[in-house]
């Protein structure tokens, strides 16, 4: 078979070779991705949810105006908004949000510290995986509200009880995320690390953890969602003056006072924090990590 390399082969002078090589590089390198302009990204990502939200409010207003349900079951959107601005204006909102968000963040950070070595152990040590791998997955599907009664019996109505529930909610997600991140590493990469002279710890630091980062981040994101959810469950059930006023208690108070506007305002604030952290923290982080690896398909 005639080989296309024959012609190139004859001219082994370095100059020609360099030219051919440079030409190949130019022809063969994947095209650079154009970044879409800011306004275009705004139109395609921020506009649709805003429109959907506006529609929702519109339908709500219409339903309220038709007066099918009594006022104490379906408040006017304006009333809820008034409630929100009222709590914000009085400074209560800041205090309530601070109580809950600081608890969730603290609990989440503690969960990260516990779950990261745990995930590494489960992923890399066969006995540990056999022993607690399925337990960890099982715990993930256990609603964390289920821990609240036990936590109250064990710790009383204390912050410890709340933190316990938050940890039980988020540790399994984060650990499992890390495990699946490590499981999805192409087997060649650790081998390359070994061939380049990485010891066990170095391999974890320079190959395993960075390679598992996308899965780990997904786990962190889910872990945050779970710790926020668990916190709300704990706060709604475990209400007591010495626990301070968090969003959950605020919601609980709304129910006690038969104040539907307050209840919906609380739900709105809970959602706002959840979505806010996702959009401001995890989404950009995940985007940056995936983009750096050329995994732009998911964005």
């Amino acid at each position: 078979m005639p080989q296309p390399d024959e012609a190139v082969l004859e001219t082994d002078r370095t100059g020609d070779l360099a030219a051919v090589g440079a030409g190949l590089d130019a022809l063969d390198a994947p095209p650079q991705q154009q970044r879409t302009p800011l306004w275009q990204r705004f139109v395609s990502t921020a506009l649709p949810p805003l429109v959907a939200f506006a529609l929702l409010i519109g339908v709500w207003q219409a339903l309220w105006a038709s007066a099918i349900w009594p006022e104490f079951q379906l408040p006017a959107p304006g009333d809820v908004w008034a409630k929100v601005t009222e709590t914000v204006a009085s400074g209560d909102a800041a205090e309530i949000l601070w109580t809950s968000v600081s608890r969730a963040v603290l609990g989440f950070l503690a969960a990260v510290v516990i779950a990261t070595p745990l995930g590494l152990l489960v992923a890399k040590v066969r006995v540990v995986r056999a022993a607690i791998g399925s337990l960890l997955t099982g715990l993930q599907s256990l609603p964390s509200v289920a821990w609240v009664p036990a936590a109250i019996l064990w710790f009383g109505l204390t912050p410890s009880a709340i933190y316990f529930v938050v940890l039980m909610g988020s540790v399994p997600s984060i650990a499992n995320g890390l495990v699946s991140g490590i499981d999805q590493i192409p087997p060649l990469l650790p081998r390359v690390g070994q061939a380049l002279g990485a010891g066990k710890l170095q391999a974890a630091r320079h190959v395993l953890l960075p390679a598992a980062l996308p899965g780990y981040l997904a786990g962190l994101k889910q872990g945050w969602a779970f710790s926020w959810r668990s916190l709300m469950a704990a706060e709604i059930i475990a209400t007591s003056p010495q626990l301070g006023l968090g969003l959950g208690q605020f919601l609980h108070n709304g129910q006690s006072l038969n104040d539907i506007s307050m209840v919906i305002a609380a739900i709105f604030l809970i959602l706002l924090v959840g979505i806010g952290i996702e959009l401001l923290l995890f989404r950009p982080l995940e985007r940056a990590v995936l983009r750096a690896r050329g995994l732009t398909g998911a964005l």
Binding site: A18, A195, H206, P210, L213
Partner: protein, 264 residues
């Protein structure tokens, strides 16, 4: 240095790597696979040896054993070089690191200082003509460019510790098999150039006879199941008709070895 070694490669007392009676069995009991059986091989410092064989004959196994990634079942491997560098069919660059940081990685693992390893990495990227692409990520490079970064990284891992003049050893497992013909041709020439400039010994695995004869000073044919050294050819500096004749000879022997298995 290379020139003197090239001429006296066969009778130098020192060798970059010496394999004696290397045997490798995968698994236990009746389902075990005897991949290598009594392989004897010596690679002189600075020598370019091509290991040729049908696929599944144990070439990768042999390379992994020399690299220290797998332990031989029995037999002995004596290295006089620094840590052998390994290059695989896939570039296997770390996707989260830029090209220059990929090349730096083995130096970083060996505990080199930031400034010195950056300088060394840039030097090696220049060597593979990728001096301008240091800041690019693997996904922004073509297959051939990635393989050149992998070559620079492999060289960093073997030369990084060779400041005292210890010779290096580069193990390559079909590194160009996944590339298109033109890119492969350019990279083969690049590899020869880099080899001449660095004095590294190379053990190059391939199933392509033309590639083996073109690149190597010596071609070693491995039999299949179990892998043993069948024959060697000295192919250094062959051109024109001699080269064609050798290619035919090697191909004929390779065919013999393969068809020997049909009967069994």
């Amino acid at each position: 240095m290379t020139a003197t070694l090239e001429t006296s490669a066969e009778n130098t007392a020192t060798a970059a790597v010496t394999l004696s009676g290397v045997r490798k069995v995968f698994g236990h009991g009746p389902s075990s696979v005897l991949a290598l059986d009594g392989v004897d091989l010596r690679v002189a410092p600075g020598e370019f040896v091509c290991l040729l064989g049908a696929s599944g004959c144990g070439k990768s196994t042999l390379l992994n054993v020399v690299a220290g990634l797998d332990a031989p079942t029995s037999g002995d491997i004596a290295l006089t070089t620094t840590r052998p560098a390994v290059m695989f069919q896939e570039a296997a660059l770390m996707p989260w690191l830029t090209a220059v940081r990929n090349v730096e990685l083995p130096l970083r693992l060996a505990g080199h200082k930031r400034s010195s390893r950056r300088a060394k990495a840039n030097e090696l990227l220049d060597l593979v003509r990728l001096g301008d692409a240091g800041g690019k990520r693997p996904h922004e490079l073509s297959g051939g460019m990635r393989q050149r970064v992998a070559l620079a990284r492999a060289l960093a891992s073997t030369l990084g510790s060779a400041e005292d003049g210890t010779p290096g050893l580069l193990l390559m497992d079909e590194p160009f098999a996944a590339l298109d013909a033109i890119t492969r041709d350019v990279l083969q020439a690049e590899l020869l150039r880099v080899w001449r400039e660095t004095d590294t010994a190379i053990l190059f695995v391939t199933h392509d006879v033309r590639e083996a004869v073109r690149l190597g000073q010596r071609v070693v044919l491995l039999s299949s199941r179990p892998g043993r050294v069948v024959r060697e050819w000295s192919v250094d500096g062959l051109t024109g008709e001699d080269e064609v004749a050798t290619i035919e000879d090697v191909t004929a022997r390779l065919r013999e070895v393969i068809s020997g298995h049909a009967a069994a």
